[in-house]
Chain length 254, copies 6
């Protein structure tokens, strides 16, 4: 049984990572996994939240949200509903936790970086794409802080972070599920990895089904290989010079 977009079971969708998408934030990345499109912006603020003050440690956090027009059927705004839903909370926490795994907060110094991941268009795998793009935006923000002489230590990033979804669809273990596969997946798993091949987070769920240990192993194999491939793309994109002039955001702020 073939995938509706013709991919092999272990094949990623086309991935595109565009840096410098906005002028104001220190890092701003448009990340695309097929039709899934997310704007990941890394905003830098001097100082840290109250509960952290005087610790010498910086802080990295993330906020995930969907534009109402991002989905097949228009979604209501959480600002209009007056409360953030459980799913949004859960994903924001996952992104923040994942990105903090690769950064030395003492080296960051008492700076706060907020990674805003706003889904422009959703077609499955938004949380893993947000982590993938969020890492690149974070890397650019760290570079910007370094250029501004505001880091406590020259290189706070200890590894690169990538993430991918994997699942069981039509009885087959498949990588990088689009929405159409995601809604009918029996098992759904998200894996966050580093470029050292280690794991930051694993979240696997049977959807109206349970799964065996060997299925879990097969999903992990696919996910780890997919993450390695994404790490390569991130490295290639970050090897390029910053599009648009890096000093511009700095002068805007001051």
């Amino acid at each position: 049984m073939a995938r509706s977009d013709g991919r092999n079971d272990d094949q990623l969708r086309d991935i595109s990572i565009t840096r410098g998408f906005q002028v104001w934030p220190a890092g701003s990345v448009l990340v695309e996994f097929g039709r899934t499109r997310i704007l990941c912006a890394a905003s830098v603020t001097e100082g840290v939240p109250r509960w952290r003050k005087g610790s010498g440690l910086g802080w990295v956090t993330a906020e995930y949200a969907m534009l109402p027009s991002a989905t097949n059927t228009r979604g209501d705004r959480e600002s209009v509903k007056g409360r953030i839903g459980g799913r949004t909370h859960e994903i924001s926490r996952l992104i923040g936790r994942s990105l903090r795994a690769c950064i030395d907060l003492a080296a960051l110094g008492e700076n706060t970086i907020v990674i805003d991941c706003d889904v422009i268009q959703a077609d499955g795998g938004t949380r893993t794409a947000a982590i993938t793009g969020g890492y690149v935006a974070l890397a650019d923000a760290v570079t910007w802080l370094g250029a501004a002489g505001r880091l406590a230590d020259p290189q706070p990033l200890s590894c690169a972070v990538a993430a991918i979804s994997v699942g069981v669809v039509d009885g087959r273990v498949r990588l990088d599920l689009p929405y159409e596969e995601d809604v009918r997946a029996e098992v759904d798993m998200n894996v966050v990895c580093t470029d050292a091949g280690t794991i930051i987070e694993v979240q696997g769920t049977g959807e109206g089904a349970t799964f065996t240990r060997s299925t879990l192993d097969a999903m992990l194999d696919l996910a780890l290989a997919g993450c390695a491939e994404i790490n390569e793309k991130q490295a290639a994109v970050l090897a390029e010079p910053y599009p648009g002039e890096l000093p511009k955001p700095k002068s805007v702020r001051s």
Copy 2:
């Protein structure tokens, strides 16, 4: 005293209107006035709000919001704050009111169109740009409804709607203020017009200053001329065929 971007006092910024920016909504427009960039999406739902049911009339409404990363300094999310601020409310109401002025709601039939205006990047004039782009998205949504045979009457749009800001800066009456001029303007006015040269809305405010009737007249002159120019751009863009296949969104939905 010249403008910082070299424009004449009566000159608009570069305006760009990109249709079909997203795949799911019936109309999706990225509108740009210089560095101001707004995504205007027109989502169609069958039926109308409860208080309208059985009236035979359709409904058009708008919601305006800013991405946290859209501004010079990161803004807090209204969903996180748990309430929508006064400015957001005010602008959403203005956009909805302005766009309803050009549509015959009986001809629309019992359909609802929500125009989501999400500011990707802010550099002054976001509310007028949102109205300008929102009209184009609305026009595409109406065309889409017509193609789907869901209109009560073939042509519900009676006019085109454009809007522009004008103000007094450095003692001079100027058109289309960027953020840098907006913050130090003595008078700030937004004008919403139709392509028939009539006015839908005028909102003029002295910012720590008051203004004379003759200054008001000079501002109106500039704004009406600016709107006429924008109406031409809208017409030119809408004369093009829909980028990407028009029937696609329809089949996605069903």
Copy 3:
């Protein structure tokens, strides 16, 4: 076509301004435009909001609200709904902005004046009546601050502020619309002026209709004349001594 209350098109309703309506606030005015009745109270607090501290500048802000029993059909309380509606926000912001146009905040010193405009009975034109009455309450609060020796500078008020509604009803341009005319007006405009004849704010809206530049001009003519008349009434009322003893509120507070 005559007006239902027999007035000429350019005629104001009976206006009454009662000072000293409450004992606690430094200024307290009951303003009446026909059956529209609003209680405008100016409360003084020492100090300014956090974001203003140490600036040497004072602050003036306004809050508008309707009693549930003020309208034809009982309205739900915004405190019960748990959120303030868009219309309330919009009007509160308009009143505050309008009153700040006439006051030198440096001369006010680091004091805060809140103008509470609570609608006791609504019959059209509540926002313009609130501005008109709010100015008188503000003037009394400033006098009270002066008498208490708490002003940085003897006369912070640079002009008087009045406001009036104007609109197109039954095809005729009319001044000071009661509710019955307001609901069927084709165009609705609010104008805020100073006693120097200059304009602070203009807000004109086509309600399911658009309007020409010449209609706009005719509406402005009527509104400016109406405001001049209201300014005279304000001046006459403020020329009277404070009803009730001015020193009383001071001693209550200390």
Copy 4:
């Protein structure tokens, strides 16, 4: 030790009850106990809340609130805070419960009467004044319903309701405490009675002190006598014809 306003311990303040204070509600009463001034409006709606539908029973409820300018020091609006405080809830519930004690809800038919008690000026005893004025507004609303032929039964009111505060101040049992006595009272009690001399509600609290059974008895004696006096005033006021034309509100609504 004399009372600061010269009254005897068992003496009420001057009480004034003004009917027909607003034009829209079916009953509208301005009640004054000394400087305490409350607007009690009784609004009638056809039908009952969902959980009552089809029961044949009507519903009476109350909402209490304070204008920000009603107190010595300006209070924040509960609509701005986004939640109703415990004290407000408690008093609203007390007023509703007290007024329901005197009405036969079957005779009322499936109509809802909301009693809005908005404190214009507070000087102690607002909750008991609200009950006292609320009863008169309720009686007018019931008369209005009767005149409109909308009652299931001609006379739903079975008794009249009055309320008064009593307390121990300076070691003496005193009736009808103003704010100045209320804040330093050792014991504070509110009593709600009928014109048949029976009790609807008793709420007595030691404020940083406890009290004996005999003090409780002395307070009850004073309160019951005070209520009887208030009941007489209510009866006298209600014996007058409705000020302003009774039929007007009816025609306004239809």
Copy 5:
């Protein structure tokens, strides 16, 4: 007419008071009145709320809540509804006020004690049981503070606090109503007393009925006798050594 559980009209249900129910709080009491079961925990925090700082006075407050599963029909969580209901507010305030009547806040020193009363199972009389159990938890917390050398003065408790419900059911005055009697009571009263026989709070309400002064007297007789009996049980329980090791919570905290 006999009571459904066979008790005499003046008889309490079986009362059980279990101390040391939880390991973390300084006082933790499970109180049972028949099937009514409430967990009363007294948590100690160093310091006082902002508005009390530097006063040298401590603070005691209470929060009452029901588990969703505590009642016959499952109740919605107030955290899910996003607001605390009027009844909850009212009871929390009553408990806090009652317990503050017996404690010298200067002797407590700048410490805060929060009494959390969480209803595990409800069968009538939860507010009076919460006060009864809350007192015992408070006493244990005060002992704990004394052992930790954190009291400003050795014995801040000046009396013991107990509470009981009483009412008129089937035309008879009865003590300690279970839910089954409570819902059909004509009059419902809660009385809070000290072990000195004085009264802290009386709250009596006619439920769709009014009551005479002599009925009130009969209810007070029963309630005062009931409270005296409960005070004895409290004293007996507090005379026992603390179950589980008293020093444990202290070491856990530090």
Copy 6:
């Protein structure tokens, strides 16, 4: 390096499961893992949420919450804060999803079962203990529905659900972490399993550290063995007759 409570790395804490803890809910279980104590109540309602009506399917959902006094340091109530935190949302969703994996919602018929998991005392592993106890409460509620003849099909439960935490502490892979180990764990994982040995959910997180595939494998080994042991305890407890009379809750409800 030994564990502070003397257990082996692969050893569970003492587990106790008490059924029939409350009288009102159809299932009510107090589950204890060492000092962690959670009340899991399964409440049955006829009918399903609106979006499910007419589907013939039942619904199972869960709500998790902590008593303020359950933790070392008192936690603020989410009802007081007015919003549910991200962690609470996340855990509630996990419990609901886990329990739905073992039930045939068609067999359940149009009934709703809400599993309330209220943490009485927290000492690590609350979410996994809640799933473990929640399953037993769910099983009792299903039995109760069967006895009441309200199931569409006699046996809707297809498997038993248990959960356990596992982590890396002091460089060692350990089972069932108490709070003291949890806070300093390098890796933290929760595993939900069925009594068929299959997996429902896996959530593993590096806390300021990443982990290798082989560590993941070792954690899974321990967790699966732990779950099997817990499944046995559940089966043993459910083999006992219901403590207290099963028919009682039924008659209470009707």
